[in-house]
Every structure is written in C-alpha cells, then in structure tokens.
C-alpha cells in the first residue's frame, strides 16, 4: 500500500463525517456567544495587572510612610516588589496572548503557543510559591494598618515563628513535588502534575523540540 492509496479513504471519511457531525457552523449568533466565552484569559490578566497597580500604590505609600520603622518598611517594600511583578508578568503574558494570530503559519504559531504555555507554567510557580513567605509581611502590615499593632516590635519571636512556618511549608511543597516525581511514584507524580508545573513544562519542552525538528529536518 502506498501513501496515495489513502487519498480515497480521507475523502470517504470526510463524506461520512458531513452527515455524522450535526454542526451549525455558520450560526453567527452561536459563534459570537462562543467567542465571548474565550475572553476570560485576557480579562483575568487585565484584572491581575489592575490589582498589581492598586497594590503597588498602596504598598508604596505604606513603606514610604514607615521609613522610621525598618521592619515594617521592608515588609512594605517586599509587597511592593511582588505587586510590581504581578503587573510585569501580567503585561508580558498579555502581550504574548495578543500576538497569537491563528491565521499565521502553523509551525510559527505552535511554537509561540508552546512558549506562552512554558512562560505561564513558570510564572505561575514564581508567583505562587512565594505565598508561603509573603503571608508574613502581609500579616504584619495588616495588623499594623487595621489595629495599629506592630507585631515585630512587640513579639519578634512570633514573627520568627511565622517565617519558620512559611519556610517549612515552602520546603515541604518543593520536597513533595520532587518526591512525587520519582519514577517509582509515577501515579502520585502524574496526579500532582495535573495541577503543578513540572510535567506540563516537560511536555511543552518536548513539543518545542518536536517543532524544532520538524522545522529543520
């Protein structure tokens, strides 16, 4: 059997699917409705950036008002920096999303989409894992703003304990991810990978390699 012998099979399959798929492809109303469902990604990126702007203003004004209290000032600066990251990462991702043009050649777009996916996976981890630590400065600021209390000045050991809990949580999370990826624990690893970055990133990288081979072979 030669490749050209499969051409009739493709035609026959298409003819059967015409009747098998009851599609209303050209119903514009339905298409517009579906199109609006595709917008949440951009919407949430814009929300992330707007939240970043608001937090940046709030935390900048906070730390600049606490120049005399170094621990609280540092807490404000850390949160300020994180807020800036929210804006920067959101902006980069939004510009990547906006550049995706499905009418462009397949190899170029698939490469672009794979890079976007790799970027998302990485930034989700970069923005997510620091939460184990960031809750501490946020708590200190919240207590100071809401109750006028300075936890660090009054009970530095409590702050040290907060940090210890955060660092332990971060270490356990990283350790768990590494532990689950051992080949002998493939099922647990696969389960965790559905919601974590590692395997998705590997798959994306494999696909990028496939694209590179396809381009150059």
């Amino acid at each position: 059997m030669e490749l050209d012998d499969l051409k009739p099979a493709l035609k026959a399959r298409e003819a059967r699917s015409m009747t098998a798929l009851d599609l209303k492809l050209a119903q514009i109303g339905a298409l517009e409705k579906a199109t609006s469902r595709l917008r949440p990604l951009k919407f949430w990126l814009i929300v992330q950036m707007l939240a970043g702007v608001v937090f940046t203003i709030l935390f900048a004004s906070y730390w600049s008002a606490h120049l005399d209290n170094v621990p609280l000032m540092l807490c404000g600066i850390v949160m300020h920096a994180y807020s800036v990251l929210l804006i920067v990462f959101g902006g980069i991702e939004l510009s990547m999303v906006n550049r995706v043009d499905y009418a462009a050649p397949v190899v170029a777009i698939q490469k672009q989409l794979a890079r976007l996916r790799a970027w998302r996976i990485r930034t989700q981890a970069w923005l997510g894992l620091p939460h184990w630590i960031l809750w501490v400065p946020l708590t200190l600021i919240a207590f100071n703003v809401l109750f006028g209390a300075d936890i660090y000045a009054n009970a530095p050991s409590v702050v040290a304990m907060f940090f210890a809990v955060g660092i332990a949580g971060l270490a356990v999370t990283l350790g768990l991810l590494r532990w689950a990826r051992e080949p002998s624990r493939k099922r647990i690893g696969d389960y965790l990978d559905d919601s974590a970055a590692g395997s998705s990133l590997r798959r994306t990288q494999t696909f990028l390699d496939e694209i590179a081979r396809f381009e150059t072979d």
């Binding site: 015409m18 514009i28 298409l31 009418a103 072979d217």
Partner: protein
Amino acid sequence: MHIAADQHERFSALLDRHRGIVFKVANTYCRERHDREDLAQEIAVQLWRAFADYDASRSFSTWMYRIALNVAISFRRSDRHRAHAEPFDESLHDVPDRDASDYEATDQARVLERFMAALDPLNRALLLLYLDERSQRDIAEILGISESNVATKIGRLKQRLRDGVAAGTL
C-alpha cells in the same frame, strides 16, 4: 449594522463552501465524536474571530487550513483533551457496505486511522494536507516550512507507511 450583516453573510457562504476542511481537520485530530464536535465548533469560532482580518486577495482555503490546524493542535494539546483516550469510532471509520470492493476501502480507512494516530501533530497536519491533494507550495505556506522540507517529509511519510504495512503494524 449593514456591513456586519454583509460580513456574516460572506463568512457563512465561505464557511459553507469550505466546511469540508473543518471536518477533515476535526476528524484528523479527534476520534471521539463529542471531541470532534467540540473541535469543529471551536474552529468555526476562531475562523469567525479572525475573519475581519482576512485578506480577500489570498486563498480562503489556505487561510482556513492554517486556523483550523492551529486550533486543532492546540485543542489536542490542552489538558482538557490530552488525557482522553481515543476510542475507535465505528460510525466514522467503518464503511457500512460489505461487498468485496469495500473491504479494500475498509482496509485503507483502518490504515489511514492507524497511521494518523502514530504521527505527531505536525506530521499529522502534513499528511492530511498531502492526502487532501494540496500542492507542496500550499503545504509549505500553511505549515510555514520550506517546499524542499515538505518534499523530504512526504518522502519519509511514504517510507514509513511502506515499512508499517510490511511489518503489519498498520
């Protein structure tokens, strides 16, 4: 309002004329009926979204193929559909009549499905375009690779098919 209505009408007419492309691509990347319907719908949505920027001086089918293939490959790669098993859909892949000449057609249909399933998404796109009798220039334009690369890859697909049939794996 009038312009929008005109555009709807133009789009509907073009889509209707070239709807076979949507079906071919959906069948190539999804074997489960529900997925095929979802993918076909998603392709139509993306075609409609991109239609405002379509340059009428260029081939509609080439433009359509690019979008359909890009959507299909992304659709298959999304976590939502990646985990799905791909059961063999008898309604789509079997030839209903059973006289002698149809056995050959059935055989070809089975080989086509197995061969498609064994390929990565980009080679699958290449095979589809080749079997749909698109020119090498068209294929190169749709995929974004050189014509000589297209020729090389088609040669490899031919050899791979021969090897698979000879080894009884297809």
